[in-house]
């Protein structure tokens, strides 16, 4: 089992300390973890540390027995796929082009039949086949976010990090994208972490929650445990009530305190 663990991660932008001593328990393959926390709590920064795009000041990230810091940055980013939050491109590239680019991952110059089929299949699966020949400069915010998710899912990595993959999507697509991600992680036996603002979505889809606040991990565990912990109201600065929904799902209600 190649589990993902992190301990003692710390990072500052200049003098501003963003993360101090961040670690989480082993995350098992085939599961989806939601990383939650208020704005500027360091969710994106934590992703960048795991992906190796920022260098951690202390601590380490392990994938199975491998300390990720021992890998070259190319190799590390092959095993850890990071989908950044913002994506606005004004390039004259079609959706098929950009997904192909993510799929090729700088390997070789030529595009083989198998490459093309993989990309076509991924687009079709995600339900955005009709956008295939559209230019990325013409996409709406939500559409480009879905393209971004396909760009991540088309790659073969061990760990997938999605930075707010649903922030620009309507209700139906939020559910669709998250269940796609969840199904893909389970089918491939890979580790997925999604940064989310919507606690209801987190409760619905994640097997695990990690709550980040004040530069630390304040709570982690099953959605029920984390959402009922007192830390969550404190961190967000609101009163939070949990009830059960009509289909035995957890519903999160927030009230300004």
């Amino acid at each position: 089992m190649t589990e993902l663990t992190a301990s003692g991660l710390a990072f500052s932008y200049g003098k501003r300390r963003v993360l101090r001593d961040v670690g989480f328990d082993a995350i098992a393959p085939g599961t989806l973890t939601a990383l939650i926390g208020p704005n500027a709590s360091g969710k994106s920064t934590l992703f960048r540390l795991i992906a190796g795009l920022h260098r951690t000041e202390s601590g380490a990230v392990h994938l199975g027995e491998t300390d990720l810091a021992t890998l070259s940055s190319r190799e590390r980013l092959k095993r850890v796929c990071f989908m950044p939050q913002f994506f606005t491109a004004n390039a004259a590239l079609t959706v098929f082009d950009v997904v192909m680019m993510a799929h090729k991952q700088l390997r070789g110059w030529r595009v083989s039949e198998a490459d093309m089929l993989a990309v076509g299949q991924a687009l079709d699966h995600a339900g955005i086949g009709h956008l295939s020949e559209a230019f990325v400069s013409e996409l709406s915010g939500g559409q480009s976010q879905m393209v971004s998710v396909v760009q991540a899912l088309v790659r073969n990595s061990d760990v997938y990090l999605f930075d707010e993959p649903t922030s620009a999507l309507d209700l139906r697509h939020q559910l669709q994208v998250l269940s796609q991600i969840k199904t893909a992680m389970a089918a491939r036996g890979t580790i997925g972490i999604v940064a989310l603002h919507d606690l209801n979505l987190a409760a619905r889809f994640a097997d695990h929650l990690v709550l980040l606040g004040q530069g630390r991990v304040l709570a982690q565990g099953t959605p029920g445990d984390v959402l009922r912990s007192p830390a969550i109201s404190e961190t967000y600065g609101v009163d939070i009530e949990i009830t059960s929904g009509p289909r035995k799902d957890l519903l999160v209600h927030a009230y300004a305190s």
Partner: protein, 356 residues
């Protein structure tokens, strides 16, 4: 995704992509043919009344040439025609990659002050007779222009070491260099004699008349080294157009890529400018035309940018001789005149808007 069956929809998408790739390859092929025709027409244009087929025959089989044809075609016109092709391609490639790494549609070698620096170097040689590298004799102007253009990009490189490689910073420093060089150039012009001033202005207008086989060789060699390097970085350069974050997440060392590409672009532009003078427009518009036609997948974009640049300059070379028989106009003033109407038509007819 790891599914066994390929759906019909996926097959349709693949078919559409294949069609587009074929179309792209066909366009590149067509541009190569068009360029070959242009070169022959270019050689044909001018006093001597050679027929198109006869010219083609002499080019393909030099042994059939008469003495006169040998001199006109092989010694006088072919170097000029090939110089136009090489320089056009160099400027096209330089502009394309400049726009890519700086993420700016207005970037070309001139935005970064390379051509102003080259002009200033040339002016130093013409007005003060001062050469950066001693004892180069008649090549003084060319050598000065080259050294100053390279010096500018080295300055830019030092700056990026200091402040990081953000596109905005690079463009701002480039513009600072541009104005500095223009001011220094004005100083020299103010103190120059009438004859020197005329010489300087002619140099800046650009001319292919100084072409020689040796210069064509140098240009071709530079292209042969740098173009394959750029092509080998196709995916990385394409990825850069999706934003730095995305490119970095794919494992691209963005700073390193920017700096090496900047180095390549500088050499291309410096050699081109020092041989034929400051020719604006080609490096800016060639890539834009290519982008409108095939999009920005570098595997099509880069070759077509080179070909568009070459086509523009080749066309310019023809026009410069054909406008008034017996007079060869400086190409710098013609490039814009023949290129701009075509460019504006393309912009007006373009359905998709990029860079907005």
């Amino acid at each position: 995704m790891s599914d066994l069956t390929i759906s019909a929809e996926a097959q349709t998408l693949v078919a559409a992509y294949k069609r587009r790739s074929m179309w792209r390859a066909a366009l590149v092929g067509f541009a190569v043919l068009a360029l070959a025709t242009m070169v022959v027409v270019d050689i044909n244009t001018g006093p001597a009344n050679l027929s198109f087929l006869r010219t083609l025959h002499v080019i393909l089989d030099p042994s059939v040439a008469s003495n006169k044809e040998n001199v006109i075609i092989w010694q006088v016109r072919l170097p000029v025609a090939l110089m136009a092709v090489c320089v056009g391609a160099m400027l096209g490639v330089a502009g394309a990659e400049m726009q890519t790494i700086l993420n700016n549609p207005l970037a070309d070698p001139f935005t970064l002050g390379l051509s102003s620096a080259a002009s200033f170097g040339a002016a130093l040689a013409i007005v003060l007779g001062w050469s950066v590298i001693p004892r180069v004799g008649g090549l003084m102007v060319t050598v000065n222009a080259f050294v100053f253009a390279m010096g500018t990009s080295f300055l830019l490189f030092l700056f990026t070491r200091l402040r990081g490689v953000s596109p905005e910073a690079m463009i701002l420093v480039g513009i600072a260099v541009l104005f500095t060089c223009n001011a220094l150039l004005a100083f020299l012009q103010y103190g120059a004699s009438e004859f020197q001033l005329a010489q300087l202005i002619f140099w800046q207008m650009g001319s292919l008349a100084r072409a020689s086989w040796a210069k064509v060789g140098v240009c071709a060699a530079v292209l042969v080294v740098i173009l394959p390097y750029f092509l080998s970085r196709s995916w990385a350069l394409t990825a850069l157009r999706m934003g730095e974050d995305k490119a970095a997440a794919l494992g691209i060392n963005v700073s390193l890529l920017r700096i090496t590409v900047l180095g390549g672009v500088s050499v291309l532009a410096a050699v081109a400018v020092s041989f034929v003078g400051a020719i604006a427009f080609v490096g800016l518009v060639g890539p834009h035309i290519a982008r409108m036609i095939v999009g920005e997948d570098q595997r099509g974009f880069l070759p077509l940018s080179a070909l568009c640049g070459a086509l523009i300059l080749s066309g310019t070379s023809i026009a410069s001789k054909a406008i008034t028989p017996g007079i060869v106009y400086p190409i710098g003033m013609i490039t814009s005149l023949i290129g701009i109407p075509f460019f504006i038509l393309l912009i007006l007819g373009q359905r998709k808007r990029h860079w907005q």
